[in-house]
Amino acid sequence: MSNIRNFSIIAHIDHGKSTLADRLIQHTGLVDARQFRDQILDSMDLERERGITIKSQTVTLPYIAADGTHYELNLIDTPGHVDFSYEVSRALASCEGVLLLIDASQGVEAQTLANMYLAMEHDLAIIPVINKIDLPSADIDRTREQIDRELGLDPDEALLCSAKEGIGIDAVFDAVIARIPPPRGSCTEPLSALLFDARYDPFRGAIISCRVFDGTVKPGDILRFMSNGHTHKVEEVGLFQIVREPRKELGTGSVGYIICGLKTVADTRVGDTITHDQRPAAKPQPGFRDVKPVVFSSIYPISSDEYSALLDALEKYKLNDAALIYQKDSSAALGQGFRCGFLGLLHLEIVQQRLEREYQQAIIMTVPSVQYHFKLKDGTSVIVENPLYAPDPTEIESAEEPYIRAGILIPERYMGVVMNLCLERRGTNPRTHYPTPGRIELVFDMPLAEVIFDFYDRLKTITQGYGSFDYEMIDYRQSELVKLDILVNGERVDALSLIVHRDRARQWAVQVCDRLKEEIPRHQFKIAIQGASGGKIIARSTISAFRKDVTAKCYGGDITRKRKLLEKQKEGKKRMKMVGAVMIPQQAFVAVLKTKDEK
């Protein structure tokens, strides 16, 4: 155990986390340099584009120090978005220390701070590492000063390196060994292992990543998962070393994998505690949360004969995503589809983009919604998250919507704009704390519905990236809710129906009508777009008809040329949803969610 170190690399986006991880892996010779593929830990295109890591990948680095001592250095990679903050916290809970990476040319940035605070909350040893020192624009002195002033850490403790050029890597290893404490725990106490991730393997089923705090686990053991009491028999345990390396056992303090006959990751819960059925631990590891989806949206294939292909794709997708839930759904206008639950808007966007790219699905997603509670006049209660099933307004006695407690951490200078944003989003009960000089924590109670669309992105914009935000569900509160429908040439666009607070209905309707006017192309006939609520039109826009598209000559006997042009346009139509005779481009459904300042 004394030769184990459990650590993570945390940093602002693009400060070089993945490159450093690559170098550490390369340095220990885990992978043949010839076979090595850069950024092996960041394998998804989507992640590369967004500059975020969605799925964590853990690796055990076998390191031999100068004095010949063998170490087991467990590098746990962490996702980087508020939607997945729970996963991040469980990954950090499995570590004893972090490398806080800072780009020497950019200096300390918003996520540098946010991640540092997160590490502090978990009582981790923090090693500042200044990266990219090879760049001409690197300003090491300024960065050291920022480490001192803004992070409150000792700049003399900061390491210098260039992950890209392979400079200073030895010193990183030395620091990990010297400054991150080895894990503490008892091998005689009952097994207590924290499940911080699970991945699906087509041949073996769910591969569980865990940190063993107490006890040991080996093949043949009967495990109990403390969140639900389910028991499973261990088939195999081992270490992650790019490929899985089976071991006779996972000892106290180690990080590795367990395969125990679970068919899909849906059976696992991040943050769960794994123990032995016959000799269970007294208490589970702290911090477990049963993660519930909070944002709901329906997915429909653009073309109804693609339904079974979409079902197939969702089933495959779910194998690797425990958080996504879905069930069959249908609507008069959109046909057969699925009602899905997501952890947040980013989760939703990721699912949408992966379904489209990896599984080639052309889909429409309805406007995301939260779960509302309605009390009807006849005394019954209904829970609604699909606006199409909202009860008739005349039957409603009262309505409630879910509220969150939002904690927003910002530098003092953004206090005004952030207050405004929260009040605009119907935030109430504001409180302020001063965790460190120059920083403010604003706490608001806010309706979840106001947060799921673009609250996080707006916050980032108005605080120039320095704001960070976390939230937890608190309760359901009474609210004046109305249903808003969008009509195009008199026909309702089911995918855009929404339950919204009465005070926000008009604003939202205007936004949708304006966005649709921009996104829907002109047709041969006029198009009237309307927002309707409670039987009244509360917003509208019009798209005028074009008068001419015809070309004079039909190319003599050359019909082929003309037809090919039409076929191309016909292909373009595939990404469009027909509502009546109006073709609505798929991106219109996404565009309606963006407020003007975001465009």
């Binding site: 041969q524 074009f546 001419k548 598209d549 015809v550 003599g556 006997g557 139509k573 027909m578 005779a581």
Partner: protein, 374 residues
């Protein structure tokens, strides 16, 4: 279209005296290959004897068929007539430029069996003719028209172009007004269209407009339809008008109804029973291919039923006949919705089981088919 419908024969004459800056049809200005081309053409035609049993229309287009020397034209016609029988009441058209004509030439065309002359007049205004790069002037045109009416076959077609930059209704009217005097059986009024690879197309791409604005074009189109409608012309296709239904161009109607037609010569297109094929747009390549293999087909496609449907819709909406309701997938909700919108917007009428475009519907004909496909 049934395969035993009579077929049309098209001959592409790829020679011109000069290239008009707007024209996208293939031709060269060097007449040196005329004889070689004519011989190859007959040989090519002979290769199709098994595929086409009879013709009831002949159309010489191009290029400028009227640049061919009379003797070569006679030789060509003799070869063509020998290919396959022509129905006794065949329509036989030759396209001409006004300044290629003379009374003798017109007589010659009659004697070769042409019963329809299509004159590429384009405009009766000399400034406009210069802008369009035409080599004739108003006086040539009026003189040629007189000759044709005097000595030519009864059936006269006039081709005009409008809608170029600066073309107001007043100016267009002054060309149109002069036409009825000659009592043409047929009028083609083409809105100027720009093709990328033409001088006009390139000029427009570098910011020198050659076209009237879309609004102006729409107005000009509607004016044309009204003007000619008032004078008794039948607006039977987007750009084509006929004195009455018997004077609709039989040959062109085959293009718009997927009837069979054989196209001989460089760049010519053919169609039969859902198969389309075409020749290369090069006199040299064409001649060589025919000389070596007897055939010049450079491309071919077998239409799927989906493609056939799309063509039927696209072509149908360009003609006054429109499209039969059963071709529109009448049960589908999108069909109902589309028809409702078109009727409401005055772009089509629904009668006797057919959806027919109105004149305003002609203006948007190109996109109508897409409303009815998935």
């Amino acid at each position: 279209m049934k395969s035993d419908s009579a077929a049309g024969l098209y001959v592409h004459v790829p020679f011109c005296k000069g290239k008009c800056p707007y024209c996208d049809f293939y031709s060269i200005t060097d007449p040196g290959a005329e004889r070689r081309w004519a011989r190859a053409l007959i040989r090519e035609g002979q290769g199709y004897r098994a595929d086409f049993s009879a013709f009831d229309s002949l159309y010489l287009g191009g290029g400028t068929p009227s640049v061919l020397p009379d003797d070569l034209l006679a030789e060509l016609l003799a070869g063509l007539d020998a290919l396959r029988p022509f129905a006794s009441e065949s329509e036989r058209t030759i396209e001409c430029n006004p300044n290629d004509l003379s009374p003798e030439r017109i007589e010659c065309y009659r004697s070769l069996g042409f019963n329809r002359i299509s004159l590429g007049i384009q405009s009766l205004d000399d400034t406009e003719l210069a802008f369009l790069g035409r080599r004739h002037r108003r006086s040539d045109t009026l003189r040629a028209l007189d000759w044709v009416r005097e000595r030519g076959p009864n059936n006269l077609g006039i081709d005009l172009i409008y809608g170029f930059a600066g073309h107001s209704i007043a100016r267009w009217r002054s060309t149109l007004e002069a036409v009825p005097r000659y009592q043409p059986q047929h009028l083609s009024c083409y809105q100027l269209t720009l093709a990328d690879r033409t001088p006009f197309g390139r000029a427009a791409a570098t910011g020198q407009p050659r076209l009237a604005t879309p609004e102006e074009q729409a107005d000009l189109f509607l004016f044309t339809a009204e003007f000619l409608g008032e004078r008794g012309f039948l607006h039977y296709e987007v750009s084509n008008f006929a004195r009455d239904s018997t004077y609709r161009c039989r040959h062109n109607l085959k293009y718009w109804s997927r009837a069979p037609y054989l196209g001989l010569g460089p760049a010519a297109h053919s169609h039969r029973d859902g198969v389309r094929w075409w020749n290369p747009a090069s006199v040299e390549a064409y001649c060589r291919a025919v000389e070596v293999t007897g055939s010049a087909a450079a491309g071919r496609e077998q239409l799927s039923s989906e493609q056939i449907r799309l063509e039927d819709l696209a072509l149908g909406f360009r003609t006054r006949e429109g499209v039969a309701l059963e071709q529109l997938d009448p049960g589908a909700p999108r069909t109902q919705a589309a028809i409702a919108e078109l009727l409401e917007a005055g772009l089509a009428t629904l009668a006797a089981g057919r959806l027919r475009p109105t004149t305003r519907g002609f203006l948007v004909a190109d996109g109508l088919s897409l409303l009815f496909v998935a």
